[in-house]
Symmetry: C2
Subunit: 173 residues, 2 copies
Amino acid sequence: MSDSAEAAPEAHPQRWQRDAWDIEPDSINLALQSLSPRTTGVIIREAFYGTRRFDDFERHCGISPSVLSARLRDLVADGILEKTRYRAPGARGRDEYRLTDKGRSLVPILIALNDWAEHWLVPPDGSTVTLLHRDCGSPVRTGVTCTSGHEITTPSQVSAVPGPGARPASASG
Amino acid sequence: MSDSAEAAPEAHPQRWQRDAWDIEPDSINLALQSLSPRTTGVIIREAFYGTRRFDDFERHCGISPSVLSARLRDLVADGILEKTRYRAPGARGRDEYRLTDKGRSLVPILIALNDWAEHWLVPPDGSTVTLLHRDCGSPVRTGVTCTSGHEITTPSQVSAVPGPGARPASASG
DNA sequence: CGGCATCCTTAGGGATACTG
DNA sequence: CAGTATCCCTAAGGATGCCG
């Protein structure tokens, strides 16, 4: 970092021309980027389940402390988690990582992931966790609708309208 | 590969004890796993937008052919895409990669990702693509409800009920 | 042109040990 | 216990070149 002289071009024998994230800066890619290092998604899921302390993340997520530290820092920088000093009376202060509003609004994504996996990945018997509405006890699910209330079930029901710099693509078969 | 003798234990100086995927085999992690190599998500997004041909994936996703080939193979193996021989009259046969039912049912996840990014990542001005209901033209959104119809907006509305081998965690603040 | 294999670079992540 | 730095290995991806 911060070397002033960039003289020799052969000093960098290879420089990446392409990067999958750069090509199409559309929203879905941006979101994927935010969840992108594998462990980030795992941590968010864990936070969603209520975990807040470093130690618990480490234990439950199975992420080594060095990586966990880095990921948490990134998530805080991204505004998905916030780090707060929590001080129990008489005890030493502890840091807690809690979801921000931005982080909490990932819920639909997490539920959608859960739905999909429940349906396609663990169909036989071994469902691990069931997500229920706390107040009424009914299972929680995502649904896709347009703002007029029509249900969407397949990509072909959706058309992508070109914002500023978008492609015209629309639907698969 | 395929050396029969596995004699020396020191031949493997290091063996990973932990893996973030293994610790908690819950549905959300399983789903994350399915989207996990960065480029997989990008490809799925692209398929969702209607892309089918190897060349187009390469161009639109900015993924080098070798990797693209591997990811497509994995996605086919996972049953998310299916490879079909498409033969235009008089032309050479082409392979097409199309979403299966399993792949198509990822829609809620993609829409949820899109929603979230639109709201938190590209708020100012530069929205790239808008997703509309093809029939009525209204924008498409995800919603989370329980099967009794109540809206869910925050993790604290959700409780995780222990399936077979689950943890009791439930909600964040 | 569609698709795959090889070679190499980067970045992601585990273990360990150390600091506040 | 919370968090970080170091060291090293593996996973993931780009470029290139070859085969159908």
